[in-house]
């Protein structure tokens, strides 16, 4: 049940469907936007770069959310699609001298097209079985980048990614790049939210919950599965391109298969079937990774017999254990907790 702030009554359907319902909501939203642009000026480069990485992860995570959370096409090749997007825009800028702001949408569309080709397998597979074609897609990406297009991608030597420049304004500092990522991720987040609450999103959920009923109710399943693939990978491509141009240099080792697993696992931790879940997932993943990067060397120093093993294995273990704990204790993810919190906050002090 949708909880609503006490004393707020809807007169029109559009009010009932709005996300920002009250003046307080609007005030909080504007405050959020303002602080998104004011606060970074006080932050140092390290935190800003973390912010950039969270933002790019978030964009890719929206894609995972649409594919797994909304259409239940489990993808374990997402890092491959992210890498595909990064390569497309890097190649376009490196070899054809395109402007970043033309290359970026092409990265999304390129990854979407690649996703469409992989997605044709969804005609025969569904749910868990989609893992096989998507894992293959990851290896196809390696093969394409390292072997087939070696002439242009320079194989495992990697390729340089150009710098985004808009009308002579270069996004060359952490702060400037942070703003770029912030604007794009907020926009794409809003678009994703709108997508899932209109016709297309309902069709996705219909296919997720009951594909047979969906088809008999007039939803063209194959078309919408492909659409879900294309949109999910569009997000992956955009996220990947933004990340690549921030790092400045990419090769295929930056997109390991393990990252694909992380995308899927943290999507569950964030909360399936919720755009907010993707936001939580990105924060949770990257902040946790940052914490481990900070703690692991300290532990290694304290425990001399570990000989550096802690640094290499602690991340894996903690990620795995947390994912398992979430599956046991809160399978609906952080997003569900967030909904519960909002509910009780609105009813406070009458928590019945």
């Amino acid at each position: 049940m949708k909880g609503r702030p006490c004393g707020v009554f809807d007169i029109r359907y559009s009010q009932d469907m709005a996300i920002l319902r009250t003046k307080t909501h609007w005030a909080l939203f504007i405050l959020f936007l303002v602080s998104l642009f004011v606060v970074p000026t006080f932050l140092n480069g390290h935190i800003l770069s973390l912010g950039v990485i969270i933002g790019t992860t978030m964009i890719s995570m929206f894609g995972v959310q649409i594919m797994i959370g909304y259409t239940y096409q489990i993808t374990l090749g997402h890092a491959g699609f992210v890498g595909f997007g990064a390569y497309v825009s890097a190649l376009l800028m490196h070899h054809l001298g395109w402007n970043f702001f033309f290359a970026l949408p092409m990265a999304g569309l390129g990854a979407a097209l690649y996703g469409l080709i992989i997605g044709t397998s969804s005609l025969r597979c569904k749910g868990l079985y989609m893992v096989i074609p998507t894992i293959s897609s990851h290896f196809i990406f390696f093969y394409l980048a390292n072997e087939v297009f070696r002439k242009w991608t320079y194989g495992s030597d990697g390729i340089e990614c150009g710098m985004p420049v808009l009308f002579g304004f270069a996004f060359d500092s952490d702060l400037r790049y942070f703003y770029l990522v912030a604007v794009i991720s907020v926009l794409l987040g809003i678009v994703a939210k709108n997508l899932v609450r209109t016709k297309t999103g309902r069709a996705f959920v219909a296919i997720r919950d009951n594909d047979i009923a969906a088809e008999v109710m007039g939803i063209d399943i194959f078309r919408y599965k492909l659409l879900s693939f294309a949109i999910g990978n569009f997000y992956a491509g955009i996220g990947g391109a933004l990340w690549g141009h921030y790092v400045g240099y990419i090769n295929t080792e930056f997109f390991p298969i393990l990252d694909s697993v992380y995308y899927a696992a943290f999507c569950v931790v964030g909360g399936l079937g919720s755009i907010m879940g993707a936001v939580f997932a990105a924060f949770f993943w990257r902040l946790l990774g940052e914490g481990i990067n900070y703690v692991a060397p300290l532990l290694d120093a304290i425990l001399p017999m570990s000989a550096g093993n802690i640094i290499s294995s602690m991340g894996l273990i903690i990620f795995a254990v947390l994912t398992i704990l979430f599956l046991i204790f809160e399978p609906r993810g952080i997003a569900h907790r967030w909904e519960l919190f909002k509910q009780s906050y609105r009813l406070h002090p009458f928590n019945y």
């Binding site: 559009s14 297309t200 309902r202 919950d209 009923a213 008999v216 939803i219 659409l227």
Partner: protein, 263 residues
């Protein structure tokens, strides 16, 4: 016999699964203005007829005409878009959506908005969402579903879910409504409600949602309901039609009595 009054015609439908003849030589005419009940013992092919009509099964032989157009080879989604809606024996709702979203998902085929306009939630997309929401609210009003508007369907009681499913089918503005055991597993009160809804669908004034009332095909085991509300009854046994007529005729039909009592 095909006549102008018919909306759906089945001609000589043969459907088999391996060695099992589910339907053999089935002829069936459904008129525009009737509630047609299909009854028969378990495994007699009632649900197979519905599945064949909605394109879920492919009969090996025979033709299915909807408004004199052959629909055998169309995809289920295309058949639905022509105006054939159905409910399922075992509920097939979208459990992760709220009641209102389930009904809106039923209006999928009626929504003209493209996926690009949906990305921006104002102007065209917003107007279309509000317009369809109004229609859906009308159906929810009719089926007394308002208290459950924003609740996830997965947590609703069984009787209410059945109603939501009927609502989702109605939201498609169907010309033919196929109901697969709408009263199964319900208590007396819920059954009476459901029977009233089915009758009201035929008789209610639907100006704002449905221009013409749909023909209703009812597959049901609940004999008192069937005999009370249907205009015509078709009885099946072993994939064949053994009787057809008004409820009173069917009650007296020796073949029907034999099929049911096994005498």
């Amino acid at each position: 016999m095909k006549t102008k009054k018919d909306i759906l015609n089945l001609e000589g439908i043969h459907l088999s699964f391996g060695g099992v003849q589910a339907l053999s030589g089935m002829d069936l005419d459904i008129r525009r203005d009737e509630i047609l009940a299909i009854i028969g013992p378990n495994g007699s092919g009632k649900t197979s007829i519905l599945n064949s009509i909605s394109g879920f099964y492919r009969p090996q032989k025979g033709n299915i005409y909807f408004q004199e157009k052959r629909i055998n080879d169309l995809k289920p989604s295309k058949i639905a878009a022509m105006g054939i809606a159905r409910t399922f024996q075992n509920l097939a709702l979208y459990t992760g959506l709220s009641t209102v979203d389930n009904l809106l998902a039923g209006r999928h085929i009626k929504m003209k908005q493209s996926f690009l306009s949906g990305l921006f939630y104002f102007g065209l997309a917003l107007r279309s969402e509000v317009e369809h929401r109004r229609q859906v609210e009308y159906i929810m009003d009719f089926l007394e579903l308002q208290p459950y508007r924003h609740q996830y369907v997965g947590i609703l009681p069984y009787g209410v879910r059945k109603r939501v499913e009927l609502g989702r089918a109605l939201a498609m503005e169907p010309k033919v409504l196929l109901l697969d055991e709408p009263m199964a597993g319900m208590n007396m009160e819920e059954k009476e409600d459901m029977a009233r809804f089915v009758l009201d669908i035929r008789e209610a004034k639907w100006e704002s949602v449905i221009k013409e009332s749909p023909a209703i095909v009812l597959v049901e085991h609940e004999m008192d309901v069937v005999m009370d509300i249907s205009d015509r009854v078709v009885t099946l046994d072993w994939g064949k039609k053994i009787a057809e007529g008004t409820p009173d005729e069917i009650k007296e039909d020796p073949a029907v009595i034999k099929a049911y009592l096994g005498a």
